[in-house]
Symmetry: C2
Subunit: 432 residues, 2 copies
Amino acid sequence: MDFDREIYLDHAAATPLDARVREAMEPFLTEQFFNPSAPYAPAWETRHAFEGARADLAHAIGAKPAEIILTAGATESVNLAFSVLFGKLGSEDISQKWEIGVGGYFPKNGKLGSEDIFPQEDISPTTRNVHEVAHVVTTAIEHSAVLACAQAHPHTLVPVNHHGLVDPEAVRAAIQSQTVLISIGLANNEIGTVQPLRAISEVVQSVRQQRLMEGNTTPLYLHSDASQCAGQLDVNVSTLGVDMLTLNAAKIYGPKQVGLLWTARGVQLEPLVLGGGQERGLRSGTENVAGALGFARALQIAVDGRKDEAARLLALRKTLQHQLLEAFPEAVVSGHKKRCLPGLLHISFSGLDAERLVYLLENEGVYVATGAACAANKATRSHVLEAIGLPPEVADGSLRLTLGRLSTEENTARAAEIIIRVVRSEYERVSS
Amino acid sequence: MDFDREIYLDHAAATPLDARVREAMEPFLTEQFFNPSAPYAPAWETRHAFEGARADLAHAIGAKPAEIILTAGATESVNLAFSVLFGKLGSEDISQKWEIGVGGYFPKNGKLGSEDIFPQEDISPTTRNVHEVAHVVTTAIEHSAVLACAQAHPHTLVPVNHHGLVDPEAVRAAIQSQTVLISIGLANNEIGTVQPLRAISEVVQSVRQQRLMEGNTTPLYLHSDASQCAGQLDVNVSTLGVDMLTLNAAKIYGPKQVGLLWTARGVQLEPLVLGGGQERGLRSGTENVAGALGFARALQIAVDGRKDEAARLLALRKTLQHQLLEAFPEAVVSGHKKRCLPGLLHISFSGLDAERLVYLLENEGVYVATGAACAANKATRSHVLEAIGLPPEVADGSLRLTLGRLSTEENTARAAEIIIRVVRSEYERVSS
């Protein structure tokens, strides 16, 4: 992409790698290529750098290093959060039949490498049997990763109002006696509405209190996917009041397929990927050291620069919105006026075809989205717009414009002009 | 690491990024950073490049692009292969326990907490319930990823002989009527023994025939982790005769945490990670485009240069082995003489402490391993050496020396001198 000529308005889908992030990754792409589990000193240094990245990531969100699990992206992080719903065999069972050996659990008295027919009917502690009754509460406007995970379990989708806002009392009402997990994204990736997580966390607290009194020992966790947020919103875990938080490097000018799951102490996860036991046994596989270093640098930059960048993006977005609404007073802006991602503008041109708009804008070098890119090209109507009650003829003419570090006053103004010209000619075409 | 002064003899643990691989990744770390699922033309180009990488990966192993699933590393690929063992709840089961309510499946007679539930189509308790009787056959010397996965199911570990070789007839004997998966690494990552996969695949064929005649409809798949092999052995899937193959970029001078699973047509996998539906729904999450391009280039280079590089490494390894055995005739070389990874030398100095040797060699700038690095620093005795019957006092003095592209005649000869000097002084120390 020619960063001078072309205008990128899809920062919510992907962000370019920051030069400083690149620099942080560099040594681990070249001379420090060692396997961090290797036994010689240069590999220990690689391990040390990797653990330093973990500490930096933790620090950036007000957490402890041991609470961070590095994953291959946000989707995997969300899936790992949902592992609280997987059941284990009881620990008595395990200790009677199994013991820890090289690479995992082995049957007691079993001998490796001999005539080892292991007990046939025994299933090790790591199976993925699902709690039969564990229930999930989430919202109707979540990212496809959360929705797909929720749909694998009994679940309730809490509705949102027409601004896309979740009512904490609706969350309370959806919680059942067997609810184990509540997963609510901090900011919606399509319309940018920021949820009242703190208030929801207070609901969670009060339900826990109530369970305690009733003798219900079912754990209850609040998870949030904040992938869209670092760099624009506060992602400090204690401010948010969550038990688990998902973050993503790729959305904050870091490398792709690098993410993390933060969990408060005491949250019981089950691994999705078994093997060498890396990441406390929760994400086996040789570590992506360069990725972790890049992520740490990206998060640090995002958090440090958040206030200024959020204010800058908000100003750009307001101007853009103002210009577009002035040209098309009938256009519909979705999302919440105040509780919003600063850099996101969701605007609908009723009666137009958003896909045509994307194509026409692309011809002019302006790259915009019709919605979330993450659902792998599914040509279906947005579940988010349905959930906020946008009529189909409005929804079908929707653009998601997301500003970011590539946005300037100059290119945003230029984008506004081009969008106005293209939308105007489309309205002329359809009305003629 | 100073590539001129220091000598890296741990290519089986990690490999440096090849400059040509780096170059292939470059555009996708900079200007082509787009989300491949985004709707504008530059993102389509990114998608096109990504699918081109998949085609190149497929081509390199004699497969079709649609048969390749890109994963975040070999461990994840192995775990995905084991998903053939996951069952879904049968539809009868579901209807007995669950009913479709507003918002999804709910336990029968269960009560919802909220009236405002959104209808959601396409909801099913998919889930990772494990087939209760599905059985796995693997060997006693597999990588920890395979062992950990096998241990989550009823399984049989086929023993190996003292060269680390698996007898195809022992595999046949271990197969039960409910065996669904046989997973055997092409080459062992510790002693380098190359398994007779082709012969094992013939056993699998004949068992399938037999099942057909008996009316046993249980599927039977042969999976192989060939992560250590591309670049040294033939990894063409039809030559190998396998149904599933795991490969890893990080072991062939490509990026870390990038891998693939190849599956023959008809193999039924279940996703480990749910979400946007990328990789045919089997590995959701925004694609690691740069990683895939790097992997494709790395595999192409490895396959194209295999014959010459394998011959070169074999010659280097033979010379190294000869020099070490000449200095220490009592040293024990493990693995199979002919069926071996060309660049791997596993040698044991009975009575010495391998960890001290690693430390002393590291002081001289020579980096070697005591065994596989992948098991995340577990200071336990190798299960591979136990399985081949190496006595503890021999096993404890074992070094794994793995040659690769950083190895030259000059630095390998220098390494031999240093190892001989260090081992000699250690023998003097312990005998005095």
